[in-house]
Every structure is written in C-alpha cells, then in structure tokens.
Amino acid sequence: MIGLPRPLYTALKLAALAGVVAILAVLPRFMGEFRVGQFTFVGIYFIALLGLNILTGYSGQISLGHGAFMGIGAYVTAVLTLGRKGLVLFGHHPPHWLPLGDGMRPALTIPIALVVTGIVGLLFGMPALRLAGVSLALATFAVAVSLPTVAKRFEDVTGGGGGLSLPLPETPFGLHVSAPHWLYYEAWGCAAILFVVAWVLVRARVGRAWRAIRDGELAATASGVSPALYKTLAFGVSSAFAGVAGSLLAIQVAFVNPDTFPLSLSILLLASVVVGGLGSLSGVIVGALMLEFLPVYAQHPPLFGQSFSKQAPGVVFGVVLILIMFAVPAGAAGLLRRIVRPLTKPVPTVSD
C-alpha cells in the first residue's frame, strides 16, 4: 500500500488546515488597511472558487457564468440593505409587490443571497442538463453576457447603469475593530463555514455521485445515481456559494453596478479554479490568491520599476495558465500532492 495509514494522513491534513486558519486569523494584525482589504477579496474569491470547483471540478460541468451568479448575490444584498426606503431615496421606483423590507444589516442579507442565488442556480441547472461540454459553457456564458443588460433594464430595482450605493461599511455590535478588519473577518468567517460545508458535501454520498457522473454518466445511472438530479444540485450549490461571494463583494465595495461583474470575471474564475486544481479543495486558496494578486503584480511587477499596460494582467494570466497546464495539469493541489506523497511514503517492509 502506498501512503500513510489513513488516520495519520487525515491528522496531517487537519494540522495543515489548522495552520492556514491560524495564519488567516492573525494576518490582519501585520498589515495596513489596504492590504487587509486585498485579503478580504481573497476570501471572497475563495468562496466563489469553492462553489465553482464543486460544479466544474467535482460534477464536471463547465460554467462561464459564475461572475453573473455572484452579481445576483450582490444585487440581492444591495437591494435588501437599502430597502424600499433607500431605493426611493435614491430616486428609484421599485414595484409595490416586491417584498423589499425597510433595509437590513448587510451581514444579515448574506444568507438570503445564498438562498436566492441557489434557487436561480437550480432553475438554471435544469435546462443545462440537456447540454454538456462546450454547449453548456456557451449557455452559462450567455448568462454572464445578459446579466448587465438585465440589470440595466430593471433599473427601478437595480439602479440601472448607475448602480446602487450602499452605506459605507461599519463595525456592528459595538465591536472594537475597524471596518476593514470587520469585513475581513466577515468574509473569512463565511469562507470557513462554506469550506466545511464543501468538505462535508464532497465526502458524502452526494460528492461521490458528482464524481461518478463526471467520470462516467452511464455507469453512474446503472448504479442508481440520477445525472439529472445531481447535476442540477451541483448548479444550485455552486451558485449559492457564488451568491455569498457576490454578497460579500457588494458589502466590501459598498457599490454594485452592471460592470462590477464583467464577463472577464467569469472567465478568470474558471481559470483560477483550474490553477488551484479541479476536484480538490486544498488548491482553491492558491487560485483565490492568484485571482486577487496576479492582476496587481502583472501590471506593476515588483523589482521592475515600470508599469505595464492595463492589458498585461490578462496576458500574464493566460501565460501562467498555459505554463501550469504543461507543468502541473492537476493544478496547485496536484503539485502539493506530488511534493507530499514521496515524503509520506513508508519504507516497504517484507510483508508488503
């Protein structure tokens, strides 16, 4: 047998996880507010990528529309935070039948964004069942293309092209932390909860069903796994995650408009999931770090003293993606596995 005994291997994994959690918990103490904000974005992307990895990495369906699902979550949070009064104050005329409320604490809108976006994802997952591979990618792409237009069309609720401004973030409950720190812990708190949810899901029956469908739909069907049910479920769960990410993003930037979630975001999300490693949760953090920091460093490379054009991040992202596909097709998670495995391989004994 290759590898450590299972319990030891699991213990090692948990220790690594605890280490990451500890680092993330103390990180804001050692950096300025701008940096803290950047790492809040890492947490937000981490959540979106977890969800996308469930869809693409585990259930094997490609989505080029996850930016749009984030957008839906963001609009839910923006609209509910403002409430009917807030929208009217900004000169909008939301239809009377919409249950908008009188404005909510932003943090409380997060679970609502999760549910609403999850339902939208489920509904979208149903027609997507008839599509696979490139056709499915195109259909999700259409969602990403149409979201800005839809947002502009229903400007009575969404604020149209001008978007919606949220009240500036503040720390609730009289806690003695600055707003950026609060947002950081809010984002990473959600990330931690959703990581555990994802961890549990992919190890449960539903996770096995997702992987089975990805590996062989016919054999899965013969085993009693319904591809239709589990593919739809993957879409629902995945977009619910994206909804939380979008909701947090709206709170973080205190503003939403149709350009907050451009097409390029959807594409970069997919690329980052691949970089992190499909079908593995441990690489997701690497994808999230890259999604936040690569564009920054690509445009202003360190130790170079010169800035590149605004197009540079896209090009660099592409080059990095190609290099990774050649060097470590399984992404960061695959690289990690490749490093760890020889270290943990026991010396073969006679009884082997």
Partner: protein
C-alpha cells in the same frame, strides 16, 4: 414463475432491427448465457433490460414488474445490476468509492457507516480489500473487471447481468472466472445472465443458453443442445461455409 421474462422485445436503430421479437425466460437461481456472433444484439438486449435503451415494443418482466416502465436509475433498486462490456468504472475515484457508488441506493446521504461496511464486506468477498484506498486508474484490467463486479454486487441485486466477463482476461483468469461466478451466485443468492464469446466458459458455467443472430433468437437449450444445434453452427460458421 421465471424471475426474468423478456417478451417479444423489438428494438430498431434506423433501418436496422437490432432486436426482433426476442423472447426468453430466466429461472431464479440459474446462470443463463446469451451468445451469438458479433452484432447479434446481445448487448442491445442488456441495454434494453437495464433501460439504457428504450424498446420499440415488447415487455421485460422482472419479478412480476414491467421493467420498461421503470426509470433507468431505478433499475438497480428493482434488483438488477450489471457490468459493462468495456469496463465502465470511475477512474479518478478510489476502489472503495467506486463500490460505494454502486451502493448509492442503499446508503444514507450522510454518515454512511452501514454503506461503508457493506462495501468493505463486498470487497472482502472478492479479495479486493488491500486495494480499497487505491485510485482505480492504472490498475490491471483483470482487477478492474473484479472491481466492476464488486460495484454491481454491493447493491445486493437479485439479477446480475455480466457483459462479456471474460473479455480481455488472460487464460488463467478465465479459468478462475467460472468458479467465481458460481461462487457469487451461491454467496449472494443470485440469478446470473451473461453475454460471452468465450465458449468454454459458457459451456461450463451456464445452465441454459440463448442464442441470438441478427437480432433474432435462433436457439435455446442446455449448453450441449445448443452446441449441437444446426442453426447455431450455421450462424457461427456462416451460410457459405455450411454449404461448402
């Protein structure tokens, strides 16, 4: 009453009649063989029984229930499990997880200790336990076929359909296969229906053999009867050779 009754099943693909009014019965606890030249419709019949293909007409009655009205994902719940001609496992998953997918309908959504125990028990019965945590991709072909068998058995089916269980196996493995099939029939209380080209295996293991040619059933009987049947000989050797 027969456990499985295929009643005048017809299936066309465009202008080709893959199955033409095929009828056959399988008694509970027996091992049935389905033979015939390439393209005779053997796998098509398996696919109709397990609802991978729709039948154009006819009935498939299993344990008093028309399977053709059962959804494809419910066939295994009804008690029919199968293996595939070219081995259809989930290559990126471990052996244990592959078998657990086979137990999908018997396992609770979360915290499935009973399912795991069932899977491990099944692996043990096929002496696959040492491989439980190995990823399937890269394992030898003969082992893959055994894992596929474990995945089918873990659902504790009443009817097991084996599509060319000896295909791709070496001489030694084929020799062991006959004993294995008889053993699992006894241990798992099964009725077995198998498609096979390997005649020695069919003749040694099957209680009854059904012969298809060009989508039609041309013979049925004990292995000895079928082997002596002129229609079967003609189907295998061809009209020209028979005339010559």
């Amino acid at each position: 009453m027969a456990l499985l009754e295929v009643d005048q099943v017809t299936r066309r693909f465009g202008g080709i009649v893959a199955l033409s009014d095929v009828s056959l019965e399988l008694e509970e606890g027996t091992i049935g063989g389905l033979i015939g030249p390439n393209g005779a419709g053997k796998t098509t019949l398996f696919n109709v029984i397990t609802r991978m293909y729709k039948a154009d007409s006819g009935r498939v009655v299993f344990d008093g229930r028309n399977l053709l009205r059962v959804r494809p994902t419910r066939v295994i719940r009804a008690g029919v499990a199968r293996t595939f001609q070219n081995v259809a496992l989930f290559p990126s998953m471990t052996v244990l997880d592959n078998v657990l997918v086979g137990a999908h309908t018997r396992v609770r959504p979360f915290g499935d200790r009973t399912g795991k125990a069932l899977a491990r028990e099944t692996l043990e019965a096929l002496t696959l336990s040492p491989l439980a945590d190995r990823v399937v991709a890269g394992l030898p072909f003969g082992t893959l076929k055994q894992i596929e068998l474990a995945r089918a058995l873990v659902s504790r089916p009443r009817l097991l359909l084996l599509d060319e269980p000896a295909g791709g196996l070496n001489h030694e493995e084929v020799g062991e296969l006959g004993g294995l099939i008889r053993r699992i029939r006894k241990d798992f209380d099964l009725t077995v229906f198998l498609v096979e080209h390997h005649m020695n295996l069919v003749m040694s293991v099957c209680d009854r053999v059904h012969v298809l040619n060009f989508g039609q059933k041309i013979a049925e009987g004990t292995p000895a009867e079928v082997r002596a049947d002129p229609a079967v000989i003609q189907a295998y050797l061809g009209t020209d050779s028979a005339a010559a």
